[in-house]
Each structure stands twice: as structure tokens, then as C-alpha cells.
Amino acid sequence: MSDDVVLLERRDATLLITINRPHALNALTPETNLALKRAFDEASFDDAVGAVVLTGAGRAFCAGADLKGVAERLDAGDTSIGDDLRKNYAPLTRAIRTSPKPVIAALNGTAAGAGLSLALACDLRIAAAGASLVVAFVRVGLVPDAGCLFFLTRMLGLSKATELAMTGEPISVEDAMRLGLVAAVVPADQVLQAAIERAQQLVQLPRQTLALIKRGLERALELDLERTLELEAALQNLAGQTHDAREAMHAFVEKRAPVFRHTG
């Protein structure tokens, strides 16, 4: 296995990003986060990449921030946790949310703390049966971070988000699926394959439109109905100008399969 903390592999139009610190349950360090952010940034501008799958090497998806490193940096007085988040986490969360490509988390194992935040920043989550999700932070005296408060409240509503955030207890991915956090639960040995298959299905769809949908969903989270109606009109104008939308409409009328070219 490579020494790189983040591995990149292309499977057709899908980019597979693997957090590769299995001995540390893929705990996040400034180095992993920078490598992840760069990978997402590059994928965002790479026309050959249609979708991204994010997973972890070994038995965990990601155990969250590398607490040993955080404690050392705090003791040495070189950082505050707040600045650590601003510098090492916020840019990564932003990179995933602003990426025009769909990002699927393949939860091969536990996602805890900032590892869960990372999974929630993705667009879809496919989980291995038996894995668990843990908000965790309160257990080490900390507040949920790296976007966790935003994603949990929006995805679950305040009541359930409060329960998970205040107890920090694990929930099974089966329960998470019932709550809507996880799109599918599959046998552990099939999770990566299932996520990649889902990605391959997405990349067949008009990619410019997927990007517009992602942007629209992102904005709609913060908007009222009036502004959302206006946003939809503006996005639809852009979508309607693409070759693929015209092609799809013609194909529908002509009762044939559309041929998308994802550009123009």
C-alpha cells in the first residue's frame, strides 16, 4: 500500500478518493485535509471527471480529527482549535459543497466526529451494513464542527439533531437510513462497488444539469419560496441553453434514447 495519505484512482468518469491512514482509522490531519481539498478542487475543474466517490482504507471510513495531533498543537500553543478549523477544515467542506460534481461517500466503516461531517458534506452516502455514525464531539468536550451543525439540523431537523449532537452516541447506518442520512445500506464487502455503480449511473446523466441541481439545492437551503422560485427560473434558463437539455427533449418527443455530450 502506498504511503500517500490520500489515494486517487480513476474508474472511467468516476474519481475514487481514498483516505489512506488505515492504522489511525483514517483520522484527519492537516496533511490529509489539504490533500483531500486539492483532490476535490482538481476534480471540480476536470471535464473528464463526472462524479467522485470518497471512501476510507481499512475498516473505518474516518474516525474524525487526529486528536493526538490536535492536543499536541494546542499544548505547544501554536494554534487554537478555531483557527485549526478555519485553516484545515472549512476549505475542505467548502470544496466539496461548491464542487459541481456529485460526491458520494462510500461509508466502508465508522464515520465519527469530523469524519461524519465529511460524509455529510457529500451529496449521497452509501453505507456498509453494521457500520455506525457517531457525532462524538461532546465525548471529548467539543462542539460538532466541520459543518456538522449545519448538515445535521438541515438533514434531520432540530429535534433529532439535538439528540445526536448532545449524546454523541453512535447510530447504526440502518437507523441512519431510516432518518434519511444514508441513501442505501449494502453488505460491507460490496459498499465500494455499490458507490461506484451509483456514481457511474450519475455520470450517464447530463452533467451540466447535475451541477446546476447541486448549486440550486445548496442555495435553496438558505432561501425563502419567492427567492427559490426566482433561483429556479435562472437555473432553468441555464439548463435550457445546454445541448443536452435540447437533446433530451427531442429524444423524448422522438421516443429514442438521448445522446449526451455534457458540454455546449
Binding site: L212, R215, G216, R219, E222, L231, A234, L235, N237, L238
Partner: protein
Amino acid sequence: MPLDSGHGMPYEFVLTETRGPVGIVKINRPQVRNALNNQTIAELVEALEAFDRERAIRCMILTGDERAFAAGADIAQMADAGAVEVLEDDRFTQWTRFRAIKKPIIAAVSGYALGGGCEVALMCDLIVASETAQFGQPEVKIGIIPGAGGTQRWTRSVGKVRAMEAVLLGDPIRAVDAERIGLINRVVPAGAHLEEALRLANVIAERPPLAVRLGKEAVNQALETSLSAGLDYERKLFYLLFASEDKREGMRAFLEKRPGNFTGR
């Protein structure tokens, strides 16, 4: 097709185009993210003035490209300047000319609107931004302050509290935040800013030109005077419009439930 600059030379750093009643001026120095050197400023003011004089044009749009509306003054041009050079600098004369333009100008912003670029956007009457746009006054970071109206127009648009933050910290704000605090009119998805600006410009172009012109003048006057003087000023412009053909046509069309046909008379 570049328009004539008035000196028999086509513009070098701006492109102009008309779409029906709308005149578009595009800042075009992509290699330096549309940094505003003196020539660019002179050209964009001249292009806007030319549209202002043209009777068929009823509204203008000022824009840049996807990456930058305008990324500020050309620092390379200012790095070695002393106080006297800046005092004699022609650019401040140009900004005075910009203020005298009578037809509405819509800024269509994508990417950077920083420093002088942000100030130019604030000189316009409406600002439409792509969600990728960033607005800010980073001058403090290089030892100066905004010099083309930034300290004054931010304060008038969003109040002292937000203006201080922009001017003292120098950090840019995102388009959605700029909309929320009232610095700009609206945010649209990336790539849709020019289209939205055109939509608004065409709406304005259908309105009676004299009412649009005097409406702009009256609002701008509000920034200059006391309320009582402003109200007096408004009333005089109001009376004036009652002498126009478009007022008669507008009210008749309203009563007859049909669109007005306005001539600007």
C-alpha cells in the same frame, strides 16, 4: 464591432455592444483580471457617455468577464507614484464624468469586484452579481484607502457598521452576503449575471425615459442633501414630469388597460 473612441481610435481595453435599447460595455483586460489602469477607466467612461448620448439607448450595462468584473486599480501603475502624481491623476476626473451620466447603468458582476473594481460597481445604479462574485476594498492591506468613492458609497449603501468592516479589514464578502446587507441588488447562479442584467435593462428600457432619468437623479440627490431639501427637489422633478408627453401617454394607457408607447418627450 468596436465603437469609435471619439479620438478616431477604437477602444483597446473595453468592448461595446448594443442589444436593442441596451448598451453593453465590457471591461476587457483578462490577462490582468480587468485591473483598471487610466486608459481603461477613460475608455469605459467614454463608452458609457457615448451610449448616454445615443437616443436609441435607454439603459447601459457595465460588465467584465466570468473571472473578474474588475480586480481593482492597476497596482503596477501606482507602485511608484507620489502624492503629486496621484493628485494630478486624470482618473479622478473620469469618475466625476461617470457621475454625470444620466441613463441608468447596471453593473453585471462575476468573479472579483475588488478595490477600484468594487467602487466602479458601486457607482452604477443597480448591481447584479453571479454567486461567484466577491466584493471588497482591500486597499488597507497595501497602505492606502479606497480612493474612488469606496468609503462613501459603502457607508451610504450598507451603513457605517458594515462599511467599517470592509474598509478596516479589507477582506472580501461573498455575493450572497453582499445581497443580504444591501450592497447589491441580486445574486443569480454563476453564468446568469449578464442575462439577468439584460432582463432588468430591458424592463427599464420599456419605462418612460424621462421618468427613469429624473427618478435616478432624485434618488442620487437623496445622498447629497437634507430630507426637506430632498423632498423639495423631488417635488420640482415631479411637477416637471407633468409637462411630458409620456406622462399623458402613460396615464392614458393605464386607464385604457394597454401598454404605454413612450417616446421620451
